[in-house]
C-alpha cells in the first residue's frame, strides 16, 4: 500500500505516517505538493543563480537594455501561477474524502463495536455506522479517555483511562475531543493530523490501526500551548488485537470498580471515626 514510499520519506522531510490510512494519505498529499514546490524552487533559485553569475556588471560593459516590462510574459506567469494552485486544489479535494471520512471497521476488528452514538453535527460516521467511540478530554496536563460505547462502570460512568489509550486493531476509532480548562490539541503523528480540544466545542478525528501493528505503541503530545506543563502533556496509543483489547478492557473495568469500592469504604471509615 502507501506505507512503502512513505516509510522511506517519513523520517525527515515528510510528516510521520504508517499507523492509520489518514496519516498515510496526508503523507502522500504532502509529498505531491512538496514535489511541485521543489520544481518551483529549482526554477526560481536557478534563474536567480544564473542571473547572479551571468549578469555581473563588467568594466566598460554596455548599458543594459532599459526594458520596462513585457505584457505577454507577465500574463504568462500569472496564468501559470494560477494553474499551479488550481491543480493543487484539485488534488487536495481528490484526497480529502479519504483523510476526513473514516472507513468502516474491518471484519477482523473489534466485534460489537457499535455505532449507537447520537449523531451530532460535525460528528464523524463510518459507512456501516460501526466504530469504537472514545471521548477524549484534555486537562492541564493530561489526557483522559472515556470508552463511551463499551460496557460501563455504572449506568452513567463509562470506563476510562488516562495518558495511554488502548485500542483494538483493524477497528475504526472515532474520537470526540473536548477540554475542561484551556485549549489543547490532540496529536499522535503516525495516526493522522491533529485536532484541537477546545472547551465548549466538540471536535472529531479518527484513526484505524492495521492488524500488523498489534502490540505497537504510538506516541504523541499536546500541540497547543496550554501552560507551563505543555511540553509534558504527552499521550500514547497502544494497539492490541481485538481479543486482547477485550481482556484489557475487562481488567481496566474491574480495577476501576475495585478502586471505587475501596474509596467508598475508606470514605465510610472516615465518616465513622
Amino acid at each position: 500500500m502507501l506505507i512503502g514510499p512513505s516509510a522511506a520519506l517519513a523520517d525527515w522531510i515528510s510528516p510521520e505516517s504508517g499507523g492509520s490510512p489518514n496519516a498515510d494519505k496526508v503523507d502522500t498529499l504532502y509529498t505531491i505538493v512538496l514535489c511541485m514546490g521543489i520544481v518551483i524552487f529549482v526554477l526560481v533559485e536557478g534563474l536567480l543563480l544564473y542571473s547572479i553569475f551571468k549578469f555581473r556588471a563588467r568594466r566598460r560593459g554596455p548599458q543594459p537594455a532599459q526594458v520596462h516590462g513585457n505584457t505577454r510574459l507577465e500574463v504568462g506567469w500569472t496564468v501559470a501561477a494560477a494553474v499551479i494552485v488550481l491543480v493543487i486544489a484539485g488534488i487536495t479535494f481528490a484526497f480529502l474524502g479519504g483523510i476526513k471520512n473514516p472507513p468502516s471497521s474491518s471484519p477482523t476488528g473489534l466485534q460489537g463495536a457499535s455505532g449507537v452514538q447520537l449523531a451530532t453535527v460535525g460528528a464523524l460516521k463510518t459507512p456501516s455506522g460501526k466504530a469504537l467511540h472514545i471521548d477524549v478530554n484534555g486537562q492541564q496536563y493530561i489526557w483522559r479517555y472515556d470508552y463511551v460505547d463499551q460496557p460501563r462502570l455504572t449506568e452513567n460512568r463509562p470506563v476510562y483511562a488516562y495518558y495511554r489509550m488502548v485500542v483494538p486493531t483493524d477497528t475504526t476509532v472515532i474520537l470526540k475531543l473536548n477540554a475542561s480548562d484551556v485549549i489543547h490539541s490532540w496529536w499522535i503523528p503516525r495516526l493522522g493530523g491533529k485536532a484541537d480540544a477546545t472547551p465548549g466545542h466538540d471536535n472529531y478525528t479518527w484513526f484505524k490501526i492495521p492488524g500488523k501493528y498489534a502490540g505497537q505503541i504510538f506516541k504523541g503530545q499536546c500541540a497547543e500551548l496550554c501552560g507551563e506543563g505543555h511540553a509534558d502533556m504527552r499521550a500514547e496509543v497502544q494497539a492490541l488485537p481485538p481479543d486482547q483489547f477485550k481482556a484489557w478492557f475487562e481488567r481496566q473495568r474491574n480495577d476501576l470498580l475495585a478502586s471505587q469500592k475501596a474509596l467508598a469504604a475508606q470514605r465510610k471509615a472516615g465518616v465513622g471515626q
Partner: protein
C-alpha cells in the same frame, strides 16, 4: 519653530517693502531635548530606527536563550515558566516592537523625501505615533520585573483568562497592543494623508516609487486590521477584570471568537510586515541591476492584491479548530490565491535582474538573499494552506520554519537591504562594504542553518512552544544544528551593528547619490537639510533621478532649470 512670511506688497507703501513677520519664535531646543520635542520626520524616523533596532537585539537575545535551552534534550537552563515567558516576549517584541515599527521608521524617513515633500502631513501626530510606540514597549518590558506574560504572542483564550494567567503579564501585553496599535493607526493615517496629498508636481500614481506604494498599502491594511485586535484585547481585558466572559465558555463565551478576532488582524499583520520589505526590494534591485523595474504596474497592483486577499485568509491559522470543512476549504482556496500575486512579484524581480548589469554592493547581496529565502517561505506557505496537510504540520516546527523564512529570511533581509541602501542618505556616510558582505554571509548561512532543519523537526513531530524534549524523540540533531545556526546568525547581525556604529563616525563620505539611484531622496544632500529640498523638480517618470542625470549630462537649459529655484509666477 519659526514661521516666516515675506509680505511683498502692501497698498499703502509706494515702494514694495519686504517685511518679516514672526509668529511665536522660540529658540530651538538643543541636545537631547531636541530629540524629545522634534517633529521633523527625519529625526522621528531615526528615533524609530534606533528604538526598534534595540528591541530587535533584545528579541534576538531572547531567541538565543530559547535556542540554548533547546540545544540538548531535557535541558534545565530555563524553567518551563521562564521559557514560556521568553518565547512570548520574543514573538511579541519582533512583531510589535521591531518589524512593524521599523518599517514605519523607514517610511517616516523616506516617504516625504521620495515624494518630494517637506515633511509628513501631520508632524506632531507623527511625534505622537513614535512616543506611543516607545511607551508601549516600556509598559510591556516592565512586566519582566513582575509577571511576564507566558501564553505566547497569540494569547489564546481561555489560557489568558484570569483563572489560568493571573498576574499582570497578560495585561501588560494588552496595553502594549493598545499603545502600539494606536501608534500604528496614527502613523498610518499620517502616511495616507501625506502620500495622497503631498506628492511633487507631476508624480501621478504611476510615477510613485514602489516603496511609497508599499507604505501606502501597509497603512491601509493597518487601518483595516487594527480595530479587530483593539476590540479583541479590550474584551480580553474586561474578561479578565470585569468578568464579562466574551471568551470564557464557563460564562457562555467562546474561545474561538478570540482566535477569529486575533487572526482577522494577525494575518493582515503578516502582510503589514512583509509588503514594505517588498517595496525596499523593488527599490534596491533595479538600482543595482542598472535597469528599470520590470512590470512596475504589475508590482504595484500585486501589492494591492496581496493586501486585499490578505484580509480574507485569517482562518487558515485555525484549520485544526472545530470548524466546518466547507469553511476550511474556503480559507484554503483564498490562501492559494495569494500565491499568484506573490509569484508575480518574484518573477518581476528576477526579470529586473535578467540581462541587467548587476553591481554587487551589500544591498544587492541582501536583496538576493531575500529572494532565495522568501521563495522557500512562499512554497511552505502553500503547503500549509492545504488544510489536510496542515492538520499534520500545524503548531509544529515546520510552521516556525515557515514564518521565519517569510519574516526573517524575507522581511528582515529585505530591510537589511534597505538599511545598507539608505544608510548613506541618513548619515552622509557609506557603510563598510567588506564588513557588510561578511555580515551578509554569516546571516545567510546562519539563518538557513537555523531554520532549514526546523522543517524536518516539525515533520518528525516536534510541536512548537515546548520548553524541552526527550533524548528519544529523534529531534536532538535538528535542535543542536539549529542552535549552532542561531549563533552564526547572531554574529552576522552583530557585525552589521558594529558596521553601523563605526560608519556613523568613520564611514567614507557618501555624497548625494552614491548608488546612482532612481528616486527623489537622492536629489538632496546626505543627510538632507531640515527642509529636505530647496526646490523640487517636476516629475516626468517613475525614475526622476535618471531624468535629472540625463539632463545634467546633456547640459544646457534642462539641467539649469532643475538646479535653480524657479521664481514664483514664472
Amino acid at each position: 519653530m519659526t514661521t516666516t512670511e515675506y509680505v511683498a506688497e502692501r497698498p499703502i507703501a509706494a515702494v514694495p517693502r519686504p517685511e518679516v513677520v514672526l509668529h511665536g519664535l522660540r529658540e530651538r531646543p538643543r541636545g537631547w531635548l531636541e530629540w524629545l520635542t522634534t517633529t521633523d520626520h527625519k529625526k522621528i524616523g531615526i528615533l524609530y530606527l534606533y528604538s526598534t533596532f534595540i528591541f530587535f537585539l533584545i528579541g534576538g537575545v531572547e531567541a538565543l536563550m530559547m535556542r540554548l535551552q533547546l540545544a540538548v534534550p531535557t535541558n534545565t537552563l530555563l524553567t518551563p515558566k521562564a521559557y514560556n515567558a521568553v518565547m512570548t516576549m520574543h514573538g511579541t517584541t519582533m512583531v510589535f516592537l521591531f518589524v512593524v515599527p521599523v518599517l514605519a521608521g523607514f517610511g517616516n524617513y523616506f516617504v516625504p523625501l521620495m515624494i518630494g515633500a517637506r515633511d509628513m502631513a501631520f508632524p506632531r501626530l507623527n511625534a505622537l505615533s513614535f512616543w506611543l510606540l516607545f511607551f508601549g514597549g516600556i509598559v510591556f518590558y516592565v512586566s519582566v520585573f513582575f509577571h511576564p506574560p507566558t501564553a505566547g504572542w497569540t494569547m489564546y483564550t481561555p489560557l489568558t483568562e484570569e483563572a489560568f494567567s493571573p498576574g499582570g503579564g497578560v495585561d501588560a501585553w494588552i496595553f502594549l497592543i493598545h499603545l502600539t496599535g494606536l501608534s500604528s493607526l496614527v502613523g498610518a493615517v499620517n502616511f495616507v494623508a501625506t502620500i495622497h496629498n503631498m506628492r511633487a508636481k507631476g508624480m501621478g500614481w504611476a510615477r510613485m516609487p514602489l516603496f511609497v506604494w508599499s507604505i501606502l498599502i501597509y497603512s491601509y491594511l493597518l487601518i483595516l486590521a487594527l480595530p479587530a485586535v483593539a476590540a479583541g484585547v479590550t474584551m480580553l481585558l474586561t474578561d479578565r477584570h470585569l468578568d464579562t466572559g466574551f471568551f470564557n465558555p464557563a460564562n457562555g463565551g467562546d474561545p474561538l471568537l478570540w482566535q477569529h478576532l486575533f487572526w482577522f488582524f494577525g494575518h493582515p499583520e503578516v502582510y503589514i510586515m512583509v509588503l514594505p520589505a517588498f517595496g525596499m526590494i523593488s527599490e534596491v534591485i533595479p538600482v543595482f541591476s542598472r535597469k528599470p523595474i520590470f512590470g512596475y504596474k504589475a508590482i504595484a497592483a500585486s501589492t494591492a492584491a496581496i493586501a486585499f486577499l490578505g484580509m480574507l485568509v485569517w482562518a487558515h491559522h485555525m484549520f485544526t479548530t472545530p470548524t466546518a470543512t466547507v469553511v476550511l476549504a474556503f480559507f484554503m482556496l483564498s490562501s492559494f490565491t495569494i500565491g499568484v500575486p506573490t509569484g508575480i512579484k518574484i518573477f518581476n524581480w528576477l526579470a529586473t535582474m535578467w540581462r541587467g548589469s548587476l553591481v554587487f554592493k551589500t544591498p544587492l547581496y541582501f536583496a538576493c538573499g531575500f529572494l532565495a529565502q522568501f521563495v522557500i517561505g512562499g512554497i511552505s506557505g502553500i503547503m500549509l494552506a492545504v488544510f489536510p496537510v496542515d492538520w499534520q504540520l500545524h503548531d509544529t516546527y515546520f510552521v516556525v520554519a515557515h514564518f521565519h523564512y517569510t519574516l526573517f529570511g524575507g522581511a528582515i533581509f529585505g530591510l537589511f537591504a534597505g538599511l545598507y541602501y539608505w544608510f548613506p542618505k541618513m548619515s552622509g556616510r557609506l557603510m563598510n562594504e567588506t564588513l557588510g558582505k561578511i555580515s551578509f554571509w554569516l546571516m545567510f548561512i546562519g539563518f538557513n542553518t537555523t531554520f532549514l532543519v526546523q522543517h524536518a523537526a516539525g515533520t518528525s513531530g516536534m510541536p512548537r512552544r515546548i520548553y524541552t524534549y526527550y533524548s528519544t524523540s529523534g529531534w536532538e540533531g535538528y535542535n543542536l544544528v539549529s542552535t549552532i545556526g542561531a549563533f552564526i546568525l547572531a554574529t552576522g547581525v552583530l557585525l552589521t551593528v558594529i558596521n553601523l556604529i563605526r560608519s556613523i563616525k568613520h564611514g567614507q563620505k557618501a555624497g548625494n547619490d552614491p548608488w546612482k539611484a532612481n528616486t527623489l531622496e537622492w536629489f538632496t544632500t546626505s543627510p538632507p537639510p531640515e527642509n529636505n529640498f530647496d526646490v523640487v523638480p517636476r516629475i516626468r517618470s517613475a525614475e526622476p533621478m535618471k531624468d535629472i542625470r540625463r539632463d545634467v549630462a546633456a547640459g544646457g537649459r534642462a539641467a539649469g532649470s532643475v538646479a535653480q529655484p524657479v521664481a514664483p509666477g514664472t
